[in-house]
């Protein structure tokens, strides 16, 4: 009797030790990533949020309450940047999505070889550095000797000022982004289109549905989660657009292409207003968060 219970506790202890050991191994494997994330992501993020309430100087920061936010809200450039970023997002995210859906819908019935050719062609611009694309487009959009005005002159259009005029600069940036930026969306949409059961289309065809009906009443509803995903990702990245602005316009002319991310950069590294830059970044974070939540709300599966 005594002997068996002894054995039982020994077995139990053995398993407990094994389990302990396994936990320790688990933490060991998490360690390298945790160190990097804690030190260089989580800590700076928290510090960034708190810096919003301080006036920074090398000697030491002083608490200024909401003053950075008040100064920011009183600044016209902040509101211009917010408006520019929003217009840019409205132009490129829904616009890009419509283009990507149409192109995917045309590509989908083609043979796998043709499909992968077009996928590669549309995706290729996305592998280039933002800086490189921006430089090339700056050259193409040059008002005097740029390629685009040259091509348009054949059909008696232009010349347009593109980036050099406040009325056209932001639209030019949006056009460039829509033209080259659909590759990833198209690949994702095509992959999800492939998962829609063929039987749905067949029964709709039997009921006399035309291609538009099939697209409108089967493809689009079935792609709802994909569309939501692309919208959320698109809005998040478009609200952070920076590289192209920095290279192509520097926020000008007359602040017409100053976006929030560019404003944060320039208040931090041109004016060295670290507190102010952090306050603006905090607002950007809140905006992105709210927009993502709104999108999730409207695209809920169980929406009645």
């Amino acid at each position: 009797m005594n002997h068996t219970s002894n054995l039982q506790t020994r077995i139990k202890r053995h398993y407990r030790n094994r389990k302990m050991q396994s936990h320790l191994w688990g933490y060991f494997f998490l360690l390298p990533q945790m160190i990097v994330i804690l030190l260089f992501a989580l800590y700076p993020i928290l510090q960034g949020l708190s810096l919003s309430f301080f006036e920074y100087s090398v000697a030491g920061s002083t608490w200024v309450g909401a003053q950075n936010f008040i100064a920011m809200l009183k600044d016209d450039v902040f509101w211009i940047a917010l408006r520019n970023t929003t217009i840019y997002t409205i132009l490129i995210v829904p616009g890009g999505l419509v283009v990507a859906l149409i192109l995917s819908w045309i590509i989908f019935p083609l043979s796998p070889k043709t499909q992968s050719f077009f996928k590669a062609a549309y995706y290729l611009p996305s592998v280039l550095a933002g800086v490189v694309l921006a430089l090339v487009w700056k050259w193409i959009l040059d008002p005097d000797i740029g390629l685009l005005n040259y091509l348009l002159s054949f059909i008696h259009l232009g010349p347009y000022p593109w980036l050099s005029h406040p009325d056209t600069a932001l639209v030019s940036l949006a056009m460039m982004s829509i033209l080259g930026g659909q590759g990833a969306s198209i690949i994702i949409i095509l992959a999800n289109m492939g998962a829609i059961p063929e039987s749905l289309y067949e029964s709709a065809r039997i009921d006399g549905g035309n291609p538009w009906h099939l697209f409108r009443f089967i493809t689009i509803p079935m792609l709802k989660p994909t569309i939501l995903y692309l919208l959320v990702i698109g809005v998040i990245s478009s609200y952070q657009v920076f590289d192209t602005i920095y290279i192509m316009t520097g926020g000008g002319p007359y602040y017409s292409t100053t976006t929030i991310a560019y404003l944060i950069y320039s208040s931090a590294f041109d004016e060295f207003e670290f507190g102010r830059a952090s306050a603006t970044a905090t607002v950007l974070f809140i905006i992105i968060f709210i927009l993502s939540m709104i999108q999730f709300y409207f695209f809920r599966e169980d929406k009645k």
Partner: protein, 271 residues
């Protein structure tokens, strides 16, 4: 009738493909066009010259920038693949106590825009004395939540029996990870590595704020410093530099197209 309808659709596809690829073509053409001929636009160049590249190498430390980009991209990729796969393995297979809490905490970092991080990171790097060094360009970026997420997803699909069998054989977690998990995860390693390499090769904002001297710039940042002001740009020179940055990734893309496509759809496609 049906024929012409299809023709229109094909025409749309082709026109859009030409428009999407035209900038790349124009970049390469301009890079090989003599400076004096830039004013008269030639869609198909009559002669090819290397003048722009010669000027570029004489004017800027392009070889140093290339080296910097290569070194930084390679080390970040290596670090990220190791740390992401280790973490992914822990979340997917060991599941130590409290792993879900840590997982969501880490995942939350993905939602937060980079802009919040740039100022504190800049201050921190300055205080560490890392400003304008390789450490600043590499160490903070050696791990990624997204890469870990992909790794975890892939590893969760490995059969559990594998691990039980290895345990019975008295195999510890480290041996199991290096001998069994890593070889089985080669495809996802390739995807994460390729994405990281290209992403770092192309990255701009962080190298821009964390370096200051000509010698420490990476290729994209170095190129941007060649623009003296916004209206006066030597495009032949800039397109030569852009080609040097772009052509390796374009070749890379054609070699590993399968992995690029996989990387784009991983996590975005329900399986």
């Amino acid at each position: 009738m049906k024929f012409s309808y299809k023709m229109i659709l094909y025409a749309i596809l082709t026109a859009w493909a030409i428009a999407a690829m035209m900038p790349i073509y124009w970049m390469v053409v301009t890079a090989f066009t003599p400076q004096s001929l830039l004013m008269e636009i030639q869609l198909f160049p009559k002669s090819i010259v290397f003048n722009n590249f010669e000027t570029l190498f004489a004017k800027a430390p392009i070889d140093r920038w290339l080296f910097n980009s290569l070194l930084v991209s390679a080390l970040i990729t290596l670090g990220a693949v190791v740390s992401d796969s280790m973490a992914g393995y822990s979340y997917a297979m060991i599941k130590p106590k409290g792993h879900m809490v840590i997982f969501f905490l880490v995942l939350a970092c993905l939602m937060i825009p980079d802009q919040i991080r740039i100022v504190p990171l800049f201050i921190m790097i300055k205080n560490l004395g890392w400003y304008n060094t390789y450490a600043a360009l590499i160490v903070p970026f050696m791990s990624s939540v997204f890469g870990m997420f992909l790794m975890r997803q892939y590893m969760s699909s490995l059969p559990r029996e594998l691990m039980d069998a290895a345990r019975v054989e008295g195999c510890n977690e480290f041996v199991f990870y290096t001998r069994i998990v890593v070889p089985l995860c080669k495809p996802v390693f390739a995807v994460v590595a390729i994405f990281f390499f290209v992403g770092t090769w192309n990255s701009f904002l962080y190298p821009l704020i964390l370096t200051s001297s000509k010698e420490m710039r990476t290729l994209p940042v170095g190129l941007s410093t060649l623009m003296e002001n916004y209206s006066l740009v030597d495009y032949g020179l800039m397109m030569a530099g852009s080609s040097i940055s772009a052509i390796p990734v374009i070749l890379f893309f054609f070699m590993f197209q399968k992995y690029f496509t996989k990387g784009v759809t991983l996590g975005a496609v329900k399986e």
